[in-house]
């Protein structure tokens, strides 16, 4: 039976890129929120959580209102970008709890043993939170894959749906 695998390939590629992009944004942000106290941390967190609680239709409306000024074509770039709006908050949440689950005493001890923040992160925090990280990335990937509606509407400029 002849079959066309290209759309599956497209979906996977697009979901992979979307979760990769959100990883790059969410991971440093989650680390900052978990390890540094700064003014407005609570606001950043609340704002980042907003897309999670908005109904998809409302989110689409806002995104269209904001992005509608530019002539958006359905391109994979646009699709990835829009999807990231949805997956970044999700990843941020999951990473935050992954960081919180790491026993801080290990990080403290590492610092007294002469390690800088960067080394502590890669040699202690990440290995200890490894499973939770992988789980978080998988969830984000699936979310990007499944959440086609919002992406199609926005990235399609509200007119065309599908490729």
């Amino acid at each position: 039976m002849p079959s066309d695998w290209s759309s599956l390939w497209l979906s996977l590629r697009y979901a992979g890129l979307a979760s990769g992009l959100s990883l790059l944004v969410a991971l440093p942000l989650a680390w900052l929120l978990a390890h540094r106290r700064f003014r407005g941390a609570a606001i950043v967190e609340a704002a980042a959580g907003l897309p999670l609680v908005l109904p998809p239709a409302v989110l689409v409306y806002y995104l269209l209102a904001q992005l509608g000024r530019w002539p958006l074509r359905f391109s994979w770039r646009a699709a990835v970008g829009v999807s990231a709006v949805y997956t970044v908050p999700l990843l941020l949440r999951l990473f935050r709890s992954a960081f919180a689950a790491v026993d801080r005493s290990f990080e403290k001890i590492a610092s007294s043993l002469g390690a800088g923040e960067w080394r502590i992160f890669w040699r202690v925090t990440v290995p200890l939170a490894w499973r939770a990280f992988i789980g978080a990335i998988l969830i984000a990937f699936v979310r990007a894959l499944v959440d086609f509606g919002v992406t199609a509407l926005v990235a399609g400029g509200g007119r065309q749906v599908g490729t």
């Binding site: 005493s105 290990f106 403290k108 001890i109 590492a110 610092s111 007294s112 043993l113 002469g114 390690a115 800088g116 080394r119 040699r123 202690v124 290995p127 200890l128």
Partner: protein, 349 residues
């Protein structure tokens, strides 16, 4: 030499410690771990100053606050804090990242030999409890710190681990010239290891000195209670006779003859304190109490490893040898004798 002054977070104290083991003794919440964390740099203090060998680690007034990695303090956490995802060898390598490869491995090899860690490829959870303990000390020492901070585990000390604990800390004391600050709730550890102990309560130092002195001559009833001293009774000094080395004390329901108490005055209200092991107890059998004897009703007898603890009405606790007690165990009416030489008095109530 470490000099510490802390006046924040409800802690207010000042002390210094030279080479050798200084025990920070206190109950949970007394501030022991907080002091260790402040010195290591894990908490940000308010007012205070910490100086290690002429180097200022923290100074609230001038705003100096070195990060933990630049403080050169070895830290042994209460659960050892070995990184669970690394082998024991990698745990020991961790502090040496800045050294050349060969030097790093030479030092680890040497430390593994010194601590008799035979299977360094194992992860901490695969190693034996005593091996974990040795690895934790090894990791704290391998970077050649200028001070060692040790938080003694509050639980999980079986006999084998305790023996190893003493052995490793003695080794540290004898083979290095490091000041060691040891946070502990265990009086045995203070006696076994520490040259000096600080008795902490609610963020303050109540007593300091050699453990023997602190325990034998606590200056307040509060300190005595924290040290687990039983048999504390409020008393009034009725007479004092330095010539005959004697005194007369009035307790709640009875009077006792004691030795002369230097520095006390007639009429002083004090706390009388007697070691449970120094009281003598015998069945009353209808006899009248003689001098320094008190009739007391036995409320509870409990087994100790090598003796029996008798708790009498009025809060009197005595410890007697088991063979002396065994034939009399159904007896309820006892005479408790307070030998004059065993009586000590502590500050005003």
């Amino acid at each position: 030499m470490i000099q510490v002054r802390i006046a924040s977070h409800g802690v207010d104290l000042e002390f210094q410690a030279a080479a050798g083991i200084t025990a920070l003794f206190g109950a949970a919440g007394a501030g022991k771990s907080f002091i260790l964390d402040s010195i290591a740099g894990f908490v940000t203090l308010g007012a205070g100053r910490i100086i290690l060998d002429d180097k200022i680690l923290y100074d609230g007034a001038s705003g100096v606050n070195l990060p933990p990695r630049r403080r050169h303090c070895g830290y042994v956490a209460s659960q050892w804090g070995l990184f669970p995802h690394m082998s024991l060898r990698d745990n020991l390598l961790f502090p040496l990242a800045k050294l050349p490869r060969l030097e790093r491995h030479r030092r680890v090899q040497e430390m593994l030999g010194r601590l008799e860690i035979d299977k360094p490829a194992r992860r901490p959870h695969e190693a034996s409890p005593t091996e974990r303990l040795r690895a934790a000390f090894g990791r704290a020492l391998i970077g050649e710190p200028k001070l060692l901070l040790v938080d003694q585990p509050a639980t999980g000390f079986d006999l084998a681990l305790r023996a190893e604990w003493y052995r490793v800390l003695r080794m540290v004391r004898e083979e290095t010239s490091l000041p060691v600050l040891l946070a502990t709730r265990d009086l045995d550890t203070c006696f076994e290891l520490a040259g000096t102990m600080l008795l902490l309560h609610a963020g303050r130092i109540l007593e300091s000195g050699p453990p023997r002195t602190v325990v034998d001559q606590p200056s307040s009833v509060e300190a005595a209670r924290l040290l687990g001293i039983r048999n504390l009774f409020p008393a009034e000094i009725l007479t004092l006779d330095p010539g005959r080395n004697s005194s007369r004390l009035r307790l709640e329901n009875f009077e006792l003859t004691g030795p002369y108490f230097p520095g006390r005055l007639r009429g002083d209200r004090v706390w009388l304190c007697v070691e449970p092991g120094q009281l003598r107890a015998k069945p009353q059998n209808g006899a009248k109490p003689a001098t320094n004897q008190v009739a007391a009703r036995l409320e509870r007898a409990s087994d100790l490893p090598r003796s029996v603890r008798l708790e009498f009405a009025g809060g009197i606790v005595a410890e007697v040898a088991r063979p002396d007690f065994e034939p009399q165990k159904d007896n309820k009416e006892w005479l408790v004798e307070f030998p004059p030489h065993a009586l000590r008095v502590l500050g005003c109530p």
